[in-house]
């Protein structure tokens, strides 16, 4: 601690340069955190997907439907515990910008397969009894201020003429998996089926299959696809996590993009800070030589330089992370559901701080080693 004054005095020697360097750390850390949060949002579906679930879609693509008759045939395949089907609804609430996913669900089997979604029994029973009923995620309800008993109109143009569908909110679900999706809107498949054009009747957008054991995933997937091979609606079956990953990749290789941007940001930061530290040390060659002359060891000099760069990293990093803590919820709200929820975890903050300190140490290391190896006699001659 007795060296703190010397370190701080040197740190604040050039205030403008210090502010700019700390600022670059803060911006880099904010960007890192924001990108990591976005990446995490995209990959969350993959991370929390059930290991013992398969998703069956039309081999042609997700927008092609499958016959409802597949339900029983899939259920009969050995290894299958339960099957449920979903259909994309695609309605608009008030404004197209108010996007959220809406699914027509199979009320008989949905809870057997999607076990992480928890709806109080009384609410679920109301939903089952109410053909125009809906169950919404807690996050979605919070977003629009909905509560049970509310009547919600959704405009839909996907199935025939544009029409407003009215729903009663009968229940609100929570996801028992941390970070799990709570932004869906469920309606009854029967109500959906009665109101769509004949061509869409008795169809499912996709099936979700619950397995007896996750070990059966490969065999059951193969069996399902073989069962419907050479039919007019061939299937493509994959694990839920592979399905989620593929869905995220439809938006482009987000992970690669984020890692590339993050890498460039940190490399640039390393160059900026390293250069700043190198200039700072070069300006003080004579002073460092004097410190050595009066008895400060080579290691002490290295410690002073590293302490400065680590302090810059710590202050800049903390500022950037603090800004991220404040800004990410605001950005998430402004995106209005266009992206999955942006969640900033403590582990991500810790990782950001570790990155900042690593960059700080790396940028201070070379100038510090230079200062450590400085020959007092040579340095004093240059003064």
């Amino acid at each position: 601690m007795k060296f703190a004054r010397l370190i701080l005095a040197n740190l604040f020697r050039k205030k403008v340069r210090l502010i700019l360097t700390i600022g670059s750390f803060a911006v880099a850390l904010f960007l890192f955190t924001f990108l990591a949060v976005v990446k995490s949002a995209f990959s969350r579906g993959e991370e929390i997907a059930g290991a013992d679930r398969l998703v069956v879609i039309n081999r042609t693509g997700l927008i092609q439907v499958l016959p409802l008759s597949y339900d029983d045939k899939i259920a009969a395949i050995p290894g299958v515990k339960a099957v449920t089907h979903n259909h994309w609804f695609g309605g608009v609430y008030q404004d197209e910008r108010n996007f959220f996913p809406q699914f027509a669900i199979d009320i008989e089997n949905h809870r057997k397969v999607m076990t992480e979604f928890k709806v109080p029994d009384d609410q679920w029973n109301n939903f089952v009894k109410d053909q125009q009923g809906a169950v919404v995620g807690a996050l979605l309800a919070k977003r629009f201020g909905w509560k049970t008993g509310d009547r919600i109109p959704l405009k839909n143009a996907l199935y025939g003429a544009t029409k407003t569908w009215e729903f009663n909110i009968d229940g609100i679900y929570h996801n028992e998996k941390p970070g799990g999706d709570e932004s869906q809107f469920w309606l009854q498949w029967k109500y959906f089926d009665e109101n769509v054009p004949p061509v869409m009747k008795s169809t499912a957008g996709w099936y979700v299959v619950k397995l007896n054991s996750a070990d059966d995933a490969v065999n059951v997937a193969k069996a399902i696809d073989e069962k419907f091979a050479n039919s007019s609606n061939e299937t493509k079956t994959e694990t839920e996590s592979a399905f989620a990953a593929g869905f995220a990749k439809q938006l482009g290789n987000i992970e690669f993009l984020i890692l590339t941007i993050g890498g460039v940001v940190f490399f640039t930061l390393l160059l900026v800070t390293g250069n700043t530290m190198a200039i700072s040390v070069r300006e003080r060659t004579g002073e460092l030589a004097v410190l050595k002359a009066i008895g400060f060891s080579d290691r002490a000099v290295l410690f002073f330089v590293l302490a400065e760069s680590l302090l810059i990293a710590l202050i800049g990093g903390a500022l950037g992370l603090g800004f991220a803590i404040l800004a990410i919820p605001v950005v998430g709200a402004a995106l209005n559901g266009l992206l999955p929820p942006l969640l900033l975890s403590v582990s991500l903050l810790a990782l950001g701080l570790v990155f900042a300190l690593l960059v700080g140490a790396a940028s201070g290391l070379l100038p510090g080693l230079g200062a450590m190896r400085l020959r007092v006699v040579d340095a004093l001659r240059r003064v």
Binding site: K2, F3, R5, L6, A9, N10, F12, R13, G286, E287, A289, V290, L291, K292, A293, I294, G295, F296, S297, D298, V376, V377, L380, V383
Partner: protein
């Protein structure tokens, strides 16, 4: 007693024997010091003179443990320093040597007090004890009332006084002064020399000083000239000749 013939007492504070220092410059070996001998007792005040490039500063650096000789030995207060490791030498310097540089070399972002305190940060003294030592050192150099000033707020003479306070604060075995008045006007130079004399006469310090200025050198107990790599005792005629040459 100061001797340059290698016949001094074994009780000398500083004892230099057969000191050689060779530099390699542009593919050529330049022998700066050639079998130099020196004996300095406690409380002596020695001035080194000689033309530029004669090796005065090299000698000072060797005596202060900042550089290592090509051959020969240097003993200070019984410690043979020429074979010490770099880290041992650093510790030895902290305990035994006080440096006064021509360009002061104060840390500009620290106050006079903080600059003087620097050598004490390497000791186990408490903050209160450090304060006592620093205040005493600054009082000795007459700057007790300027301890919270930064170097930029002090004159050249005052900065050099702070440097001297920094050099004496840890009560080193001897002081090495490299052109302590070289960057000062005559009045300030005289004040600094009075202060150094006071350190020798009143506080019993041992001082070895390099200077180009015969007037400054004349204040030392003895002036030694570096000629062809060895030390020779100065004489009034030689000093006068050098002064004339400088003019």
């Amino acid at each position: 007693m100061i001797r340059v013939d290698g016949q001094g007492s074994s009780n000398s504070l500083i004892q230099v024997r057969g000191l050689n220092k060779t530099y390699r410059r542009g593919g050529e070996n330049i022998q700066v010091l050639q079998g130099l001998n020196l004996d300095v007792d406690k409380g002596d005040f020695v001035a080194f003179m000689g033309p530029s490039g004669s090796g005065k500063t090299t000698l000072l650096n060797l005596l202060g443990g900042l550089d290592v000789p090509t051959s020969g030995t240097i003993s200070v207060d019984g410690d043979e320093i020429t074979h010490m490791s770099s880290s041992k030498l650093t510790q030895w310097r902290a305990r035994h040597v006080g440096f006064v540089f021509q360009m002061y070399n104060l840390i500009p972002v620290l106050t006079a007090y903080q600059n003087v305190e620097l050598p004490l940060l390497l000791t186990k003294l408490s903050s209160a004890d450090r304060r006592k030592h620093v205040e005493t050192a600054l009082s000795v150099v007459g700057l007790a009332d300027r301890m919270h000033h930064y170097p930029r707020q002090l004159s050249g003479g005052q900065e050099q006084r702070v440097t001297i306070a920094r050099a004496i604060v840890s009560d080193p075995t001897f002081l090495l002064c490299d052109e302590p008045t070289g960057d000062l006007d005559r009045k300030s130079a005289t004040e600094i020399m009075l202060l150094i004399e006071q350190l020798v006469e009143k506080h019993g310090k041992t001082v070895l000083m390099v200077t180009h200025d015969p007037v400054v050198a004349a204040r030392a107990h003895i002036t030694l000239h570096l000629e062809k790599g060895v030390l020779v005792e100065g004489s009034a005629e030689r000093l006068a000749a050098m002064a004339g040459g400088a003019a």
